[in-house]
Amino acid sequence: MTDAIIIIFSSLGALFILLAAVGVLRMPDLYLRISVTTKAATLGIGLVLIGCAVYFNDLSITTRVSAIIIFLLLTAPVGAHMIGRASYFTGIKLWNKSFYDDLKGKYREDHCLKSFEEGEPDDSIEGSVRNK
Amino acid sequence: MLLAILSGFILAILLPLLKNILRGGLFILLSALPLSLFVYFLSWLPEVKAGGDLLFSYQWVPSANVNLSFQLDGLAMLFCLLITGIGSLVFIYTSSYLKGHPYLGRFYGYLSMFMASMLGLVLSDNLLLIFIFWELTSISSFFLIGFNNDSEASRKSALLALSITGIGGLFLLVGFVLLNQAGGHYSFTALLNSSPDLASHPMYGWILFFLFIGAFTKSAQFPFHFWLPGAMKAPTPVSTYLHSATMVKAGIYLLARFTPVLGETVWWNGTLTLVGGVTMLYAVIHALFRIDLKGILAYSTISALGLIVFLLGIGTPESLLAATVFILVHALYKATLFLVTGIIDHETGTRDVTRLAGLNKVMLPVGIAAFMAALSNAGIPPTFGFLGKDLIYDATLRSGSLFVLLTGAAVVTNICLLFTGFKAGISPFVGPLPQEFKQVHLPSPLMWIPPLLLASCGIVFGLFPFLIEGSLLVPAVSSLLSTAPDFHLQLWHGFNIILLLSTITIGSGIFLFYYLQSSESKLAWVSRFEPFSPKSVLVGMAKGFALFSAAWTNLWQNGKLRHYVFTIMAFLTVLLAVRFLQGIRLNLNLQSLSDLAFYDVAVLLIMATSILFAVFTKSRLQALASVGVMGFCICLIFLFYSAPDLAMTQFSIDTLTVILFVLVLQKLPGYIKEESKAIMWRDGILAFCFGTLICILALEVLQEPLHREISKYYAENAYTMAKGKNVVNVILVDFRGFDTMVEITVLAIAALGVSGLLRLSTRKPENK
């Protein structure tokens, strides 16, 4: 029984990781790569780790495994955000088939991020309230 | 005895303290030291004459075979009396000559130090002790020549003299050590007994070579003579004392001393005769054209030294006697002439013979002294010089098959020496007194009495040779000979060939004195040959060495770091390769190695690629990221091969390093353009060779038997004795905790350094 669980979890996990790997290789722009990979990998690793916890079936190891997963869940998105944001500053272009770029021109010189452009309708919640 | 020798040093050390007490004219009191030493040595005369074995030995550095052992024999006694006797007079003379000089205290210090060194030198029985004092005389001479420290010429002459005598000293040291190897002793008396073996020793030639260089440099023999005229930049008392009467005779002393030990061989005699002969002729001819009194005296001193070496080289009992006597003769008249020159210089302000004349009218006692000295120099009876000259001719005539040649050389030399003696001792005092010197007056008796005394000695000893013959000369000569000498000094030998030669010498000399007028133009003519002189040759060699030094230094130390790294690595690689080829047993046994797993291969592949990438990428950041990948791969290898602690540490440290780099890199520019392809290939080949060697080495070591006693011990005791289960950690904090202690200290220092460096950023960079 545990063997089956382990095999299932690890297989799924490995699959997701492989997906992430293929994704990072295939995707046409940086943001898409970040997008695809961070979470596919996180999910994949999580699954493999769960398989690991099942295998050892030991409380201290399970806590350790959960700690790893928590760390990953905590750090992976933040890391993705950091690198994505920094890349945008440095002018790394979106894929040429991208449809929207709402961020364009929103960063000031001092990296201060505006919520809307001058002259553009402010559709944030308070903005919409105010407009009404 | 020890106190007698050391008293000079003690005085030299005390002088800085005494300086304030002695301020003013009281420096003359210092002459009491040499004077009392003179008396002290005189008091030993009877015992020396009796041939007593006067050995004084004190322990000092037995481990190096250096003991303070002194031997007072005839030769030593002769020199001791010269040193202390002339020393006393020079001390007295100086007190007036340098009266009021701010550095008079230092001057006396150097003088007493010199005197003590000289005494030590001639009294030592131990070769190394001789060497020690030998070097001390060079040093004192250095200080005295450079006494007028503000004058560049003085400084240069001091440096030149020290260099020449210094290199001679080094040769002498090697010679002494060789002598010890060959003879088995540093003690001179012990060596004396093994002398027959020495001459047949395979190193005999080398011993002579080193000894001769030492002696020739010190005694200003051709081609090392040229430092001596420069040394005349020193105040005249120094020239008198060191460079005519005593120090330059140290080399002579050494040769004389070693005659019984090493002499009586063709090499010994031939070299000395040749070098001495060349020196005496070469120098004396130079002396003819000088116009500076001191220059004349300097060259004639060299010539006289050459003459003594020449006599020592002939090596017959007669010639040794002649040499001994001439040492004394020369010391007496040359010291006088120097002191007189000093007075002239002091009173008239010039030493130019073309300008000096008629000084008899203003300083008669000085003139008398000079006249007597010149007579002795000329060898005119009844001076002591006449005796000396007789003995010289006697020696050359009996010198064997080459006697005609040797005698001829001696005659020519003596003729010219006579000329120089007259030039220095007579011509300034005769003739009309020029207007400019009308105001000149006789100096203090402290200055003219010493030369007068010395010159009178020259006459007295000539008239009454028995005064010194038995007590001084016989013991001195007997220390040079294995057999007891049999001679009797007297002025009148009857009409013989020697008298004829003397007459010829005197006559030609006086003739020369009348017809050869020194002048600037003649001096200039002579100086055209300067480029061929030994000095120019040696200076040229020195310049050549300086050029070589510059080329050599720039070859290695060219300011480029990568050149240095290349040299170091090339050196290591070549040596390693040589060692490899010299015999390493290559036996690669693949069976003993573990198998490959696919993940190993993958990790290593990634690692290799990332290293390549790091090396060849054009961007620093990409290189850095590649290094990060490499670190990660290493971490995985550590993991696969059972090193979890390592994997953890490697990874965390690597990340930290990358972060540091990243934080710093933002300030740096891009890579500069690389150099030529050729250099890259060169470096690449070197790196490849080194890497290959390391690789082969590693594989080879893996074939060696495995020793694991230590790790087994750790594995067994980690828990039972050190109470830990992670053996690596137990090693870190317990078995080898000392390492860790130091390691964290390294970290702490690094942190201090980093913060120190960065806290400077508040200060302005010092840009040009």
Binding site: - | V565, S642, A687, Y719, L757
Partner: protein, 117 residues
């Protein structure tokens, strides 16, 4: 595995040396880092490698028995890694300072101390 790892170790040494021979200060320090890693790998390799048996005494046991990796090289490498971190940190900062003061990354131009003054 040992064969491949010795290749890699040799390769680390070679690339470290090659980078140290470049003109750029940054490359030089990267070279030093590679060289340090090479030395560590060499210790690891020559201490003989064992797969999957870390030198940790199991819960029940009191001594390590059977096959286990040699802990000594591991301790040595650990010490070496930490030390080289300290040294590298210093070198990196020094590099930055040198750049700031000399205004170049080119080692060939950092030779004013060797011009005779």
């Amino acid at each position: 595995m040992e064969i491949l790892l010795s290749f890699i170790t040799g390769f680390l040494y070679a690339s470290g040396i090659y980078l140290m021979l470049r003109r750029s200060l940054v490359k030089m320090i990267l070279g030093l880092i590679l060289l340090g890693n090479g030395a560590n790998m060499l210790i690891f390799l020559l201490g003989r490698m064992v797969k999957g048996e870390p030198p940790i005494i199991p819960d029940a046991a009191k001594t390590l028995a059977g096959i286990y990796a040699d802990p000594v090289p591991q301790a040595l490498i650990l010490t070496a890694i930490v030390i080289s971190f300290g040294l590298q940190a210093f070198a990196i900062i020094l590099m930055e300072r040198a750049y700031k003061f000399v205004q170049t990354d080119d080692l060939d131009q950092m030779n004013s101390t060797e011009e005779d003054i």
